[in-house]
């Protein structure tokens, strides 16, 4: 028997590996974005992809978000499978028409004649001192538009399997990569594998409260669960992984078991996706609740620059722990 050692790579490498494996499999996949080619990507994600496939399949664009997504819609309608990069999610609204009005709607408004298999990879989140225009979490905007799929993986393993699934899916997908996770390490199989879109994952089992989260907040929830365990509270950490379509069954099963739900996201609270999750629980698991559903979310402010203020903006394990403990004190 061969001794197969578990292999550890980081989140960025996992994303690149998914791109490379899929591009080897399907010649209709191309990558386009700002500095994704020669420069290797501003975060360095696409460098290895460019090295293997070159400028014919990894295309540098001008600073033209509208054209990056708009041409992806046309290319997808004509049969290609674009995987485009919008450097920061903050720039996604620049291409609001192309994403929200075109990519999301052409399958429906053309009566099912036209598919739009696009993946838009983009970096989200605060924590690098980039302030209001390079730090947002805008997933709620995307989740509100029917026709789009929204994925926000938290681990290298999930990032690779979900990106492969996203590329193979025939719908437009917004794939949110948290910039603080790029260096996160984890075990990742070498070959290709698919994690189904729309399936949440219990990252830690618990009995007293469910922490519902995604993206970078999964790490914070796991740290909080560890701290809570020391105080005798058993917290389950449910990583949604996909926001639309939402794995309601997994949410309901966990909350029915624990009787308490704390929803955690980095995005601003008002109009955030946490409100939708809370409504699902109130609607379908009200009878199981032993306490009110709580949200731990970013304040309703732009992301500030000052390190002191940015640290206060970002939800962390301490804030989650405090919210859970308050729930038990009530």
């Amino acid at each position: 028997m061969t001794d197969i050692k578990p292999r550890t790579i980081n989140y960025m490498q996992a994303v690149a590996e998914a791109l490379i494996l899929e591009m080897r499999r399907d010649p209709d996949i191309y990558i386009a974005g700002e500095d994704v080619g020669k420069f290797g990507g501003s975060f360095g994600v696409t460098g290895p992809v460019y090295k293997e496939f070159g400028a014919t399949r990894v295309l540098d664009t001008p600073i033209s978000e509208t054209a990056i997504i708009g041409t992806a819609v046309g290319a997808a309608a004509a049969g290609l499978r674009p995987v485009v990069e919008i450097l920061f999610v903050d720039f996604l609204p620049i291409a609001g028409d192309e994403l929200f009005n075109q990519a999301a709607k052409i399958h429906y408004m053309f009566g099912g004649q036209v598919d739009c298999p696009i993946v838009v990879r983009t970096a989200m989140g605060a924590g690098i001192g980039a302030a209001a225009h390079h730090s947002q979490s805008l997933e709620a905007l995307v989740c509100h538009i029917p026709g789009l799929i929204t994925i926000a993986p938290a681990t290298p393993y999930d990032a690779k399997g979900l990106l492969i699934a996203a590329i193979r899916d025939n719908n437009p997908v917004v794939f949110l990569e948290h910039k603080l996770l790029y260096a996160a390490k984890g075990e990742v199989p070498e070959g290709d594998y698919v994690i189904p879109i729309g399936k949440a994952d219990v990252k830690r089992e618990g009995a007293d409260v469910t922490l519902i989260c995604y993206s970078a907040m999964v790490r914070q929830c796991l740290a909080s669960a560890e701290a809570l365990a020391a105080e005798g509270i058993s917290a389950e950490v449910l990583d949604l992984r996909t926001l639309v379509p939402l794995d309601k069954e997994a949410i309901l099963a966990s909350v029915r078991k624990t009787g308490r739900a704390v929803i955690v996201h980095e995005a601003c609270q008002t109009g955030g996706f946490g409100g939708e999750i809370a409504a699902v629980i109130a609607d379908q698991a009200f009878g199981s609740l032993k306490a009110p559903v709580k949200r731990v979310a970013g304040p309703d402010t732009p992301v500030p620059f000052s390190p002191a203020l940015e640290a206060e903006f970002i939800v962390n394990a301490e804030k989650i722990t405090a919210a859970v403990k308050a729930l038990f004190a009530e």
Binding site: G70, G74, A75, A78, H107, G111, Q113, N171, V244, P245
Partner: protein, 336 residues
């Protein structure tokens, strides 16, 4: 009618005429019915601009792509679209091209490489550019043609798309149908340029001005641009100057236009003008042209009746085709 007319041949010339007459008849059937309250939504008529669709489509190959705007009926008809299914779509019926989900502003016909009309001014420019990228990426010598109006050229999407097409040297042809008004905003108020084709200079590819009411002039300019694109010579912007016979949409009386200028354009209606050429050159007689008009009227009478008779979609179709497939966890559906 010079050398181009001779290249087209008599039969081809008559087909160009018939194409324009079919578009006019389709639009005026829709117009009359709409004014009687028989059609939902709102309609943007192409009447007066027919020479552009007819001339451009005549030089395309069957597997080329086109994308168009909210004023897109003429393009699909010229491309070979079925007026019965178009009228059904205008009525919101299940036999429409989009099963009634798109309506007048969102008709697509993948069978004719028609990637959709579009309700967002300027969107076709970007989508057409993307289809042109697909042509180049596959190396299949197809081209992609985007149709849009003068108003579109003030949108950022126009500039980003043309610049990208230039640097990627895409087989894209941009047909700028300049009817001189962006809704009610005249060209003189929305740009300092006299010729919008000049904008191509900003991206480093040819911009051509053509009389959009002269079907053979449009055809010649399009033929040259298409050939250049097929040979790898990159994009062309063609500004076809024309005039809407009606307002921006049915119900817009277009009182903002100068009546004298309006009449001067009506006097240059592309259909009778081309008819006169055909008669003068002995290609057709007045009687033959009249017979074409009558045939087309009968065709469109039957087509609009087909649309009117088509059933509405079942209400269960509301949630169908939001996604490809049927993702659980949304209130939407695919097609199961």
């Amino acid at each position: 009618m010079g050398s181009v007319g001779e290249q087209v041949g008599s039969a081809g010339l008559i087909e160009l005429y018939r194409c324009m007459v079919r578009i006019r008849s389709f639009e005026e059937h829709a117009h009359k019915t709409f004014l009687k309250g028989g059609m939902p939504g709102f309609l943007h008529l192409y009447s007066g601009e027919e020479a552009i669709a007819a001339g451009v489509m005549d030089v395309l190959a069957p597997d080329d792509y086109i994308v168009t705007s909210h004023r897109g009926h003429g393009h699909l008809l010229a491309r070979g679209g079925d007026p019965k299914r178009m009228f059904a779509e205008l009525y919101g019926r299940v036999d429409g091209y989009c099963r009634g989900k798109g309506g007048s502003m969102h008709i697509a016909d993948m069978g004719h490489g028609m990637l959709g009309a579009n309700g967002i001014v300027g969107a076709a420019v970007n989508i057409g550019t993307g289809a042109a990228f697909a042509c180049k990426y596959r190396g299949d010598r197809r081209v992609s043609v985007a149709f849009f109006g003068d108003g579109s050229t003030n949108r950022g999407t126009f500039h980003e798309a043309l610049n990208l097409a230039a640097i990627w040297e895409l087989p894209a042809i941009y047909i700028l149908e300049n009817n001189h008004y962006g809704v009610a905003n005249p060209q003189s108020d929305h740009t300092k340029l006299k010729d919008l084709a000049d904008r191509a200079a900003a991206y480093g590819f040819p911009g051509v001005v053509v009389d959009g009411n002269d079907v053979l002039a449009v055809r010649a300019a399009a033929a040259e641009a298409v050939e250049r694109a097929r040979q790898g010579g990159g994009p062309t912007l063609i500004e076809a100057k024309t005039w809407r016979h009606w307002g921006h949409f049915i119900g817009d009386s277009a009182k903002y236009r100068d009546p004298v200028e309006h009449q001067s354009w009506l006097d240059r209606d592309p259909i009778p003008a081309f008819g006169k050429v055909l008669v003068a050159k002995g290609v057709a007689t007045e009687a033959e042209l009249q017979a074409i008009g009558e045939e087309v009227e009968a065709e469109m009478d039957a087509a609009i009746e087909y649309g009117r008779q088509s059933p509405f979609p079942d209400v269960s179709e509301l949630t169908m085709d939001v996604y490809v497939g049927d993702p659980q966890g949304t209130s939407a559906g695919g097609r199961s």
